[in-house]
Symmetry: C2
Subunit: 422 residues, 2 copies
């Protein structure tokens, strides 16, 4: 239909910045299209958690209880929450974190966000970018590969600076990344450090020692350490190695309800100093009035009773650990005879496949797999802020093993077939 | 507890901008505190919708149906939605808008946001602010008073320019604002026009003629007209005067599930050209992965069947119209003998009280009322972008009549008592 009027559709700089094709968009577009597709797709790309029957039954039971309680139901859907998030949930969570982790926190240390990603948008832009004193703050990622979703969050300019990891070779085609403390310093313009634990995309779990040293480094530099625990401790607890939940007064811990199995409720959690909590609440009030109450009200009793930590330990962790072993076996079968390495799966729900010397680059491999109905993520997205070139960046794939086992198995077989075609 | 380390807590310019005290923060902080308060508060400040029993029963029935359907339940909470929002809801809504309003729209014209306010954050910053060509776009508000929540949404600089209204005096201490077309032009730097209909805060409903003229003005200037229908047509339909839903191809219509009674699910809706839909979806993917699915999945069948429009007409509109008449009567009783005017309540759920010659200013009146347990909003917040000074700005209050009738009555009595104290 011809347009009668030539309406200016000129976007602002902000508009241009946030409508570029990004790794996150690619990921979410793939996910949306796959969910709507008629043909079966092996969906090994996104971060969608598994549908664990016990967890879905638990959520359903809680929903039913809330539907029977008029006041709770109203609180869940019919009222705007406090800008910092539903107060009852925050109080219950503070108690849980005191009891389960020994953290000295109250509700004033907790602010909810519209999902973890929104929390990072707020946090990164709170600290990084141009300052009114003329300076410019950056976020230091001490270890890449690191989460693709960070990459494009900066409202203005490139807000990240990042470091390569040290690589430890392990038996059985495995390897593990470590923070390379030998070369790690905190430049003067760094406003915060940030790591995910478990690491998305690699399934690496930084050791207690590594985290302690990062905390000390941040304190020494006088900046906060942001710890992304979306897959981590104390919930959903998708961690297969011994690891202790970490927080000191200057650490900002980010948690989420998504990987418990509730990505649709969009509830992220930030545990931080009251000044940071207040700042994030103010940002929420101004830019979106309030965050949703469904997730917080739904989970409040499970948090208050500690059940959320128990099911993380007794249901969620074992579930993904089993899936991880299974995926590793299928990977070994599918890639038999091909030269590959895989990061030791210590948590989250991804295999991080390293294909040394891959002739076509991981982005092209992603496209070829997509054309054949298998969605993964190209590893090159996962180096936000790493300035130097490094062949390793183009030799890796992130493969989710959270979806239906048949899809995971078929997807891994497709990867093996594609590699043998090269 | 003394801090061991002097951690830099320096915020970026973005951080400073979004942590200022704003009208929206004041409103949301008041709301949060009132909901948590032990003492009763007459909550006439916020935009929280009423708890209409028929609507709550309807939502509950839908929830129960979804809980009994495994696939639907998963879709509601356990999967990330498409960046543009849950696809089934968007398809159903497109059909409704075609059938009920005659708009030529498909799912490609609809994008969901994390509440209406988030949609405006995205929309305003998409069009307004610094452009990469060195220009700067602004949003023209052709009629103030206009929604307080717009005020602080601009990421950089003052993005609004606004106009005073023409005032029509009506019998019975009433008045009505009109767009002052005699003086309205669209400056070259304007990137979009925006009006709310019904107007928040005044309850004004711009006439079909006024909206048609604004649409023509926008097209003539080659920019989109953003129409904020959070309280409007076709749902929740809180409109007491004859008014037709308006959209042409260049109009961006914003709707919401909040004023149906579902603010806790944070679902905003933007109906626009596919380019705008795609841009907003991209912003969502990058900054928050996806919006929540609870609201869209919950309401999908009610949208598909047209029930959402029917209950708007048969339940919601009559409910608020009754509440509006009741509030007007109580206002007349409470302010009897005092010199006041009130905007004719034509929609939404606010009384806009004008106190010509108010000696203390509306901000001080707000503080005094708050100290006595009655929360309203000072009218001075509702003139975003109006450069000129104008005594009228400091002579008005926004009073919600959506809360419990006892609170509304007591609050109006408190206002009368306070005014007589002056």
């Amino acid at each position: 239909m011809p347009r009668r009027y030539d309406v200016r559709m000129r976007f602002s700089r902000f508009g241009e910045r946030f409508t570029r094709q990004t790794g996150t968009r690619e990921l979410m577009d793939d996910l949306g299209r796959a969910l709507a597709a008629d043909e079966p797709v092996n969906l090994l790309g996104g971060g969608n958690p598994a549908h664990i029957p016990e967890m879905l039954a638990l959520f359903r039971r809680e929903f039913r209880r809330l539907l029977d309680d008029e006041r709770e139901f109203r609180r869940m859907v019919a009222d705007y929450a406090d800008p910092a998030g539903e107060q009852g949930f925050r109080a219950a969570l503070a108690r849980l974190l005191r009891d389960a982790c020994g953290w000295t926190v109250g509700p004033e240390n907790i602010v909810l966000t519209a999902g973890s990603q929104s929390g990072f948008f707020q946090l990164f832009n709170l600290f990084a970018g141009p300052r009114s004193d003329g300076g410019y703050g950056r976020i230091l990622l001490p270890l890449t590969p690191e989460y693709v979703g960070y990459q494009d969050l900066g409202v203005e300019g490139e807000i990240f600076t990042a470091r390569r990891p040290a690589i430890e070779r392990l038996p059985g085609r495995q390897f593990k990344y470590h923070v390379d403390f030998a070369t790690l310093t905190v430049p003067q313009d760094v406003a915060a450090l940030c790591v995910s634990r478990p690491t998305n995309p690699t399934g690496n779990v930084l050791t207690d020692e590594e985290i302690g040293r990062l905390g000390a480094l941040a304190r020494g530099a006088g900046v906060p350490l942001i710890l992304d625990g979306a897959y981590g401790l104390p919930f959903p607890g998708i961690v297969f190695t011994p690891a202790t939940p970490y927080r000191d007064e200057e650490t900002i811990v980010c948690l989420s309800l998504s990987k418990l199995g509730l990505p649709g409720v969009r509830t992220g959690i930030v545990v931080a100093r009251p000044e940071v909590v207040e700042a994030l609440g103010a940002m929420t009030a101004t830019t979106s009035l309030a965050v949703g109450s469904v997730g917080p009200v739904l989970m409040r009793e499970l948090v208050a009773s500690g059940a959320i930590a128990q099911v993380s330990e007794s249901v969620i962790r074992p579930y993904y650990e089993r899936r991880s072993r299974q995926a590793l076996e299928w990977l070994a079968d599918s890639l038999d005879g091909y030269e590959y390495c895989v990061h030791r799966p210590e948590g989250a729900f991804f295999l991080w496949l390293w294909l040394p010397g891959l002739p076509i680059g991981s982005a092209e491999l992603y496209r070829r797999l997509k054309a054949r109905g298998t969605l993964v993520l190209s590893g090159h997205h996962f180096f936000p802020g790493l300035e130097e070139d490094w062949p390793h960046r183009h030799e890796c794939l992130r493969i989710s093993y959270a979806q239906h086992p048949d899809a995971v198995r078929a997807g891994l077989a497709a990867i093996g077939a594609e590699l043998r075609r090269l």
